[in-house]
């Protein structure tokens, strides 16, 4: 089995930084991963990681802007259309060549961030389907900026945004709350994602015991109580609050894990969450016990 993380989320949320830091982290623990850039708009100096494969060898937004006289948005959409058309001969064939068919090959795919790529067009579905066909287990890693979910209402907004991408992608996913290192209210975020029950010693991200598994599930009852009381909640929204809370609870639809890239433990925790959702490494464990 081969594995792939598809890193998605709004522009500027820290996808490329995530890939870079994961590469550094994996280098240090001598774990082999392959990083693939799928963003044809990435500036050349922007990617500070080694790529196994880079979509810009195939097409760049600059070229398309010039050749088809499109604006940056239109050109990116066009590039991704081209990539979708050539997913087998560029992406899959390219991966075969660079990565091969080794068991346990592990990819990080760095996606561009324009949201309509996730809600309107099929490019990422095509890419994940092609990867699955080629023997990959794929997990979407949706990055959300932690500072934008530090309030109940915004937290719900973020959850819905994640779902709006996931409904089209049809693969397991983990939501990573990025930029915890500069989030003004890290404790608040922790509280909302339900990772820590507000114990006496709950400090930052690093104080949460690893076995707690903070992707557990959101603290919906807390969330909804606050949401119903908030001055920003209008009477008309209360039934919707309740109905969304039930949905998220019943399905444990969205699991959140905070990421502070300045801390190795935090990177490790995220990696562990994503690995588990793809059952990475579990196959070999099963073999051991036989």
């Amino acid at each position: 089995m081969k594995y792939a993380q598809l890193i998605i989320g709004p522009a500027g949320v820290g996808k490329s930084t995530y890939v870079r830091e994961m590469q550094t982290h994996c280098d240090s623990i001598q774990r082999s991963i392959h990083c693939v850039n799928l963003d044809p708009a990435a500036a050349s100096e922007e990617l500070q990681y080694r790529t196994t494969l880079d979509v810009r060898e195939f097409v760049t937004v600059e070229e398309v802007m010039e050749e088809e006289s499109l604006g940056p948005n239109g050109a990116l959409m066009r590039c991704m259309e081209l990539l979708e058309e050539h997913v087998d001969d560029f992406l899959i064939a390219g991966l075969q060549e660079c990565v091969g068919d080794d068991d346990n090959s592990y990819l990080l795919l760095d996606a561009p961030g324009q949201l309509e790529l996730y809600s309107h067009v099929s490019v990422f579905r095509t890419i994940t389907n092609a990867l699955v066909q080629d023997g990959y287990r794929v997990c979407a890693v949706y990055l959300l900026d932690a500072q934008f979910v530090a309030e109940p209402a915004k937290f719900v907004a973020g959850t819905l945004a994640v779902l709006s991408a996931m409904v089209l992608l049809e693969i397991p996913h983990v939501t990573v709350l990025s930029k915890m290192d500069i989030c003004p209210e890290p404790k608040r975020v922790q509280e909302l994602i339900g990772g820590v029950g507000g114990g006496p010693d709950d400090g930052g991200v690093d104080d949460v015991p690893a076995e707690y598994g903070y992707g557990g599930g959101t603290n919906m009852s807390l969330l909804m109580a606050e949401l119903d009381d908030a001055t920003t909640t209008t009477a008309a929204m209360r039934p919707l609050n309740a109905s969304l809370a039930r949905l998220v609870d019943d399905y444990s639809l969205v699991s959140f894990v905070p990421l502070d890239i300045s801390k190795d433990e935090s990177l490790e925790e995220v990696l562990y969450m994503v690995d588990s959702s793809m059952q990475f490494g579990e196959d070999s464990e099963v073999k051991d016990t036989l």
Binding site: A11, Q114, A157, A161, T231, S243
Partner: protein
């Protein structure tokens, strides 16, 4: 300052059209939607329609990277921030350039709010002049000149009915950024503000893309803290929107389409998982569908404009009923806090002043 607070919605109260000093408070329409959903084209249409109805509009463009807008704007971010320069100065790509330009503009957005408030007050003053001038006959040449000026003023300063605001092409630049919060709150704290979410109808005719778009729209309700929302299914000249109305009104109909649509991919287990997820989502969104003001429009042909503007009126009422009390509450809290800080500072000053004389400590 006095002007700004009195022209602000504070005086608007319970859905009245008139604020203090007889100033009419315009409705702010904040256009959001995915790139290419037709925000800018719809802006031009709204302006045109409002004018045709004898209404006045104030137009704000917040897209620093747009090459040409199809409408004239009163405030244009491009006059203040040179996006290409920003890219060069800060060594950013196109996207970073747009985000940074909007951030730079957001730091000065209170000035934009002031401009609109001044415009509102000017209209009120012009109306007052009309009344007083009309009453007294006045005397000699001076009155003549005054009459001239009055006419000009009157032509220029009709009360504002709408403020239309266009946002950058990419939705996340506005919806997932700090500047989007600054700008939307700046507007919503001063004027009845309505979100206009545009969905690209031809691109959401599939049940899953439809669901994806509805989740986005619903997300906006929470992102912008309960501001009233009008959901526009745009481009109905290309694809009719009746399917969407049906799916929102009747989840069985949505389920049927979901089942038939996804039949080919049924082989995979994730496919059926997604179908069941979509079903649950549709059920969970019921309260959203029930209360949402939805309308099919075409920015190109103008179809649906009347229905849209009618929705704006009820959305404006909803702002005053549901959102405005929160504005007042937050304002009171802020003022109380400022007051507390002021008196704390004053006593600190007294204390410092005393220590300073003895210990020579700087403030």
């Amino acid at each position: 300052m006095a002007a700004s607070s009195s022209a602000s919605a504070a005086g608007g109260g319970g859905g009245d059209d008139d604020g203090p000093e007889g100033a009419r408070i315009p409705t702010v329409v904040l256009c959001i939607g995915m790139a290419g959903s037709g925000k800018s084209t719809w802006m031009a249409r709204m302006v045109q329609h409002a004018k045709a109805q004898g209404k006045t509009a104030y137009v704000i463009n917040l897209d620093p990277a747009v090459m040409a807008t199809g409408y004239k704007s009163n405030v244009d971010i491009r006059d203040t921030v040179a996006y290409k320069e920003v890219m060069k100065t800060y060594q950013l790509g196109p996207n970073g350039g747009i985000v940074t330009s909007l951030n730079l503009f957001a730091t000065r957005f209170d000035q934009v709010v002031d401009l609109v408030e001044k415009r509102v007050l000017a209209a009120a003053a012009a109306a007052d002049d009309d009344e007083t001038d009309g009453g007294g006959g006045g005397g000699g040449g001076e009155a003549e000149a005054g009459g001239e000026a009055k006419k000009k003023k009157k032509k220029k300063k009709k009360p504002l009915d709408y403020v239309f605001v266009d946002t950058p092409g990419q939705i996340e630049v506005f919806t997932w950024s700090a500047s989007g919060t600054v700008i939307s709150e700046g507007l919503a704290n001063s004027f009845p503000t309505v979100l206009c979410f545009l969905a690209d109808t031809p691109r959401c005719t599939g049940p899953q893309t439809f669901m994806s778009n509805m989740l986005q729209a619903c997300s906006m309700l929470y992102r912008f803290a309960g501001l009233p929302l009008v959901l526009c299914f745009n481009k109905i000249d290309v694809a009719r929107h009746e399917f969407a109305e049906e799916w929102m009104a009747d989840f069985e109909a949505f389920f049927e389409s979901l089942d038939s649509e996804s039949a080919p991919t049924r082989a995979s287990t994730t496919g059926s998982y997604s179908v069941s997820l979509c079903r649950s989502l549709a059920l969970a969104l019921e309260p959203f569908y029930k209360t949402i003001r939805a309308v099919g429009v075409s920015a190109v042909t103008g179809e649906g404009c009347d229905a849209f503007f009618a929705h704006l009126e009820t959305a404006r009422d909803a702002y005053y009923r549901d959102y405005y009390p929160g504005v007042l509450e937050r304002r009171e809290k802020r003022e109380a806090e400022a007051e507390a800080r002021k008196s704390a500072n004053a006593s600190k000053f007294d204390a410092d002043h005393q220590t300073q004389t003895s210990a020579g400590q700087p403030l």
